[in-house]
Structure formats: C-alpha cells, structure tokens
C-alpha cells in the first residue's frame, strides 16, 4: 500500500512538472526583450500607464535576480518597464510574450492593458515562482513599427525576487486567424456552477487558473464578460473560438447555448481537454452593441480553465478562408 501511494505521489510530481515546463517553442519570428529595463521598488497603478515617465528609474538587467542588481534582501513590490518595437512582419500572427520565471507573482500590462497575471498578490498571496510565464498578446494591441510599452508589476515574498531567468521575448507564431472581436484578456471568474457575488475575481484568458490563484482547484467554474459587437457585424454569420479548454465546457451568448464539448452535466470521462473549440453562433443570438458571454467549465483533474488558443469572434467567411489555407493533402485528389 505504501509503495502504491509513493507511486501516486511520484506521478503527481511528474504531472506538476509537466504543467510548468520550460518553453522551447520555436517561433517564426521573435524579438528578444532581454537587456536593461527600467525598475523601481514600490507600487502604484500609475506605473502601468504607457505615458508614464519612467526616465528617472534605475536600470536593471532582465532576466536577473534583483538581489544581484543592487537590491539585496529586498522583498515586496517592484515594477519593471521597457519599450520595444516589432516590425510589420509580426502582424497577422499570433503574438506571445514570454517572461521566463518570475519570483513570486506578476501582473503584466502592455500599452496600458492588462494581458496576464500569474500567482496572486497579497492579501490573498500565493506564489508562482516555478510557473513559466507565457502570455498571449491580444490582437490589435501592438503598434507594429512603433513604440510599445511593457510594464510588469512583481511581488516577491522572500529570498530571491524579480524576473529571474528565461528567454525574455515576443514570439510570433504561425500565421493565425485574425479575430474580429478578440476576447483574450480579463474575464470575470468564479468557482462553482453559478455566478456568485462572493469570491468573484478576474482571470486572464487564455491561461490556466492554477497559475492565477486557484492552485489545486478542480470542479465547476464560470467565466463571464461582456463585449461590444460593432454594428457592421451584427448581421454577419460569426464563429466563436473558445480555445482549448480543460476539461468540459458550455458556451452561452446572451443566454443561448451555442456550443459544448465534453459532458458538462454528467462529467463522463473523455479527452475533450485536447480539443480546440469552434462554435458557430446561431443567427439572431448576437446583438449590435453590448453582448454577454458565459463559459461554464468543469475540470476533472490537473490544470483547468481556458488553457490556450485564440479566444473571440471571427466572421465565418474568414474562418472558412483560414481553414482553406491551412488545408493539408492538397494534391492527393
């Protein structure tokens, strides 16, 4: 029996290690952000703003433990800021920001918009020092050929702190679908089947919930947000891409069920967590102006949530074109 438990324990460790693997993604294009950034200890929401003047801040090497960079023994809040440019060649692609490993908690703003968070800040502090940071950059956020401002808020509770190691870069993956309404970013999140006012928080999508304060949570959870549909698209057939979800989901727009994968109700086992979701929105569901979307998830075990992929709405015509271009075995017929 003891040996059996040991095996289970080892398997668990291996599983956790798998969740936190070092990124070895190969991008078609990448821009390294390693080097000297601006740095200041302390904390202020102002520092997320792209027009904030950080010219008086200290310079700091990224990646490196801040203990090595003139802040020995410092624990607490600090901000990193840098400016970068990427060329037009990066447009029309899926862009990712990789920040390697951050000790302990971080929150990332690009051009003033929050694009990700890993771990949770005090008062509900939880560390994520061993989680690899990879954030999807929402479409339309980056100024190609222009200046972009990245601001990273970090909290360190003890020992070494900061953006400590890794290949710090912006990567451009294979040409991807361009969303008409990009819904990557902050969503309201609550555990359980129904939205509750208590325990409501925001999570970044895509990204598992384990790295965003819900370490070890399995079971039902709910993602909600609103979005604005341009009037020009209100009559256009649209497809909602929900990304890869772990494990089962139901997607509701304006209280209509538009798609589901896996067995949300009866929770029968399946490998739905490997699948990317494409849900055609039935006609009449989307309204011009504000729309409400709700993603109900059941996670059986391991990591949970909307894990990866483009999340948002694309008009069906472009969706069809995208898959036509992606098609393989073109010459076998």
């Amino acid at each position: 029996m003891k040996r059996f438990l040991f095996v289970i324990w080892i398997a668990g460790l291996v599983g956790i290690a798998g969740l936190k693997g070092w990124s070895n993604d190969r991008y078609e294009l990448e821009k390294s952000l390693s080097g000297y950034w601006h740095f200041k200890i302390g904390d202020s929401p102002e520092w997320a703003r792209p027009d904030f003047d950080d010219s008086g801040w200290q310079e700091i090497r990224v990646p490196e433990r801040w203990e090595e960079e003139g802040y020995p023994g410092y624990d607490g809040f600090a901000w990193y800021r840098c400016r970068f440019q990427v060329s037009e060649a990066f447009s029309e692609r899926d862009l990712f920001l990789e920040l390697g490993y951050i000790d302990d908690v971080d929150e990332v703003f690009l051009n003033g918009l929050k694009i990700g968070q890993t771990g949770t800040f005090p008062p509900h502090y939880s560390t994520a020092y061993n989680a690899f940071r990879k954030y999807r950059i929402p479409a339309g956020l980056v100024h190609f050929g222009g200046s972009n401002v990245l601001a990273v808020r970090v909290y360190d509770s003890q020992l070494e702190g900061g953006i400590v190691k890794g290949n710090i870069r912006v990567g451009a993956a294979e040409k991807s679908i361009r969303l008409d309404v990009d819904l990557c970013g902050s969503w309201n999140f609550s555990t359980g089947r129904k939205a509750s006012s208590s325990g409501k928080t925001t999570l970044v999508v895509p990204g598992n919930w384990e790295n965003q304060g819900f370490y070890d949570y399995d079971g039902y959870a709910l993602y909600t947000r609103t979005f604005t549909l341009p009037a020009s698209l209100s009559k256009t057939p649209m497809v909602f891409l929900a990304g890869r979800i772990d494990d089962y989901d139901q997607v509701w727009i304006n209280e209509t069920l538009i798609g589901q994968t896996g067995d949300y109700e009866t929770r029968r086992q399946s490998d739905a967590y490997t699948e990317f979701r494409n849900y055609v929105v039935p006609p009449g569901v989307l309204k011009p102006g504000e729309n409400q979307i709700e993603i109900r998830i059941y996670d059986r075990t391991g990591e949970g949530g909307i894990i990866e992929g483009a999340v948002g709405l694309v008009n069906q015509e472009r969706f069809i074109r995208f898959w036509k271009e992606k098609r393989t075995n073109r010459n076998t017929l």
Binding site: P237, V239, T256, L257, I258, G259, Q260, T261, G262, S270, D271, A272, T274, E275, F276, R277, N278, Y279, V280, Q316, F319, I320, W323, K324, K326, R327, T328, N329, T332, L333
Partner: protein, 352 residues
C-alpha cells in the same frame, strides 16, 4: 495453451464483426464514394442545390477530415452532385453513409431525409452508428441530383469517416416481395384507445419512412412503445393467395395487427426459441397471414417496443410475398450468430 485460447477468442470476435455488417445484401445504384465538395462552417443555405459550391475544397469520402484539416472540430458540410443511371424495379432506395463522426443531417435536392445524433443545444454523438436513410419516393431526378450532408464533430476524428458501400443502394431481398409496403407510414409514440382498429383516425400522426430507425427520423431518444400504421389496397392479382408478411428486422419487439386482429408477435418466430430474447432486434420477421383476413382495403398496425438506444422497423424488405419467396427470405436471413446456422458461418469465412 494460452495462445490457442487467444486465437479462439479473436476469431470469435472476427465472426461477430462479420455478422454485424452483412445482414443486408445491398446492391449499389449510385456509388458516392470518392471526391466531394467540402467546407468548414455552417449555413442552412448550403442545403439548397441553388447554392454554388464550386469554390469549396474537395476531399475524399470516406475519410477523417482531420487528414485535411488537422485538429478541426465543429461544423462542416459535404456536397456532391449525381445522376441516376438506373432505377431498380420497386423496392426502397436507401442512402448509406457509413459512420459519421459525430452528428449528421442529410438533404437530397434540398429536402431533409434524416438525421443521426443531435446538434447543439441537444447535442449527442452518434459516431458509432452506420448511417442508413430511406429516400422518399419521387425525390430523385434522372440527372443533377444534389446531396448535402451537414456534419458536426465534437473532437478528434471528424466527418464521413468510414463505410462500404457509401452510396444509394437497394436491398436485393426486395425482389422477393410481391407487394411493397416500405416508404411512408403513420407513426406515433402515444398509446391511444382503439389504436389497433382499422377505423382508428391516424390523420394527425407523424409520417416516417420505413425501414429506418425512428431515432434518425425525428424521434431521437425515444424508448418504449410506438405504433406504425399503414393502409393499403390489395392488388387484385394477389386476391385469394396464401400470403406472408415481411417486416424485416425490428428493434426490439413487435405485435402485428391486420384489420384490427392480432396476427403475430416476436415470440411467434421460429428463431425465438433458439436464441436469447435480448437478441430479438436481430431476428428477421416473416409472418404467415391468416387466410381470408385480407380485404380489398386493409390497415396494418405494428406496435413496437424498444428497450434502449435505437428503435423501430429498421432493416429489410417490408411487404407481402408468396410462401415460396417467404421461405427463401427466411433462409437468406437466418444468419444470427449462434443461431444454429453453421453453413452461414462457413459462407462468411469464404467471403473474406
């Protein structure tokens, strides 16, 4: 010793697989295997023959659509045009599409002929079901027919995956039938007073095609009792003849009433004593009709009880036939595994 055991076990499974597929002797009228037009996405207008699909991709049917669109899940539509070179005489035409992963809905010349599985919001997969859709009479034209298949795939493999044959077929056994009763029947799942009587008014009942699982004809998920009713006038050439009634295979149990009188039940079949009652869905129904019961105008009522999953009068020729042909039909379809027919086991081996 162990390997021998394994060998017998494996061959046993092979036989089972074989029997599952060769219940009906199909003749292909139109072969639909090959290249089809295909598009991801979903649009009701694609069912219409008027919609131009010449800009769509082409893919092989049957095949896993992930071979062309790696990782694709969601809706996809298949379209193909075909001509009818030859019609068989009499008998029901069926469309066989093999296994479709997960849900499909089929239109011929813009008319929906059936659906297997459920689309969102009532989603359920039917990836393991062999698609078999009876084609309503009068729907096919000599040329320029258009078939459109709407498919939804929840995950992994997707599309019109596998099957042989894929196409428009008819059951060779229908040549034994003197008077064909396949096609539209009145259908209801509600028990009513005098439901077996000839005079019962079924004008507000649904109409479904026979033979076919009712689950693929708009009654998905119905288990339990259901009633089929069909009125017919007896051709004068069959008057006074000793006739038999073929209902093919029924899932699971049936009671048959002719002009208000109970004339047959599953339990009356010769094979019923030989094999387990739970195998009733595989038994081939050929019933002797009592003499003098047939009138110039007749009403046939079949009460079917389905225990679980798919149900109904689902396979085989339906109609009246002579004693001689009834014996041939029974003989041909007496191939139930463990049914005592060693000959058919050997026959299936040599067909391999």
């Amino acid at each position: 010793m162990k390997t021998r055991k394994l060998f017998f076990l494996l061959t046993g499974f092979l036989f089972l697989g074989r029997f599952a597929t060769y219940a009906v002797d199909w003749s292909t009228v139109v072969d639909l295997e090959g290249t089809w037009y295909f598009s991801v996405g979903d649009d009701p207008a694609w069912a219409s023959p008027k919609t131009d699909v010449s800009g769509w991709d082409k893919i092989q049917v049957p095949a896993n659509w992930d071979d062309y669109y790696p990782g694709y899940n969601g809706y996809g539509w298949y379209r193909k045009n075909f001509d009818m070179r030859a019609y068989p005489e009499g008998g029901k035409l069926h469309l066989l599409l093999g296994k479709v992963d997960d849900v499909d809905e089929v239109f011929i010349n813009g008319v929906k002929i059936g659906q297997t599985g459920g689309f969102t919001p009532d989603y359920f997969s039917a990836y393991s079901i062999d698609r078999n859709y009876p084609i309503p009479d009068g729907l096919l034209k000599p040329t320029e027919n258009v078939i459109a298949v709407r498919v939804y795939d929840e995950g992994r493999h997707g599309g019109i995956l596998s099957g042989d044959p894929i196409g428009i077929v008819y059951d060779n056994d229908t040549e034994l039938i003197e008077f064909d009763l396949s096609g539209p029947w009145k259908f209801s799942v509600y028990r009513e007073k005098n439901i077996h009587e000839a005079a019962f008014d079924d004008s507000d009942w649904a109409v479904i095609e026979v033979p076919a699982y009712w689950d693929a004809q708009g009654f998905a998920h119905h288990d339990g009792s259901a009633w089929y009713r069909k009125s017919f006038s007896l051709p004068s050439k069959l008057k006074g003849k000793n006739l038999f009634l073929s209902l093919g295979r029924i899932d699971d149990y049936d009671k048959v009433y002719l002009n208000g009188r109970l004339i047959a039940r599953t339990e009356d079949l010769k094979v019923y004593d030989r094999i387990s009652r739970s195998q009733a869905y595989r038994m081939f129904r050929v019933y002797d009709l009592p003499e003098d019961l047939l009138q110039p105008m007749n009403v046939l009522v079949v009460e079917v009880y389905d225990e679980q999953q798919y149900g109904g009068m689902y396979e085989g020729p339906v109609g009246l036939l002579t004693r001689e042909n009834a014996e041939i039909l029974e003989e041909r379809n007496d191939d139930i595994f463990w049914g005592g027919s060693v000959r058919s086991i050997f026959r299936s081996i040599f067909r391999w």
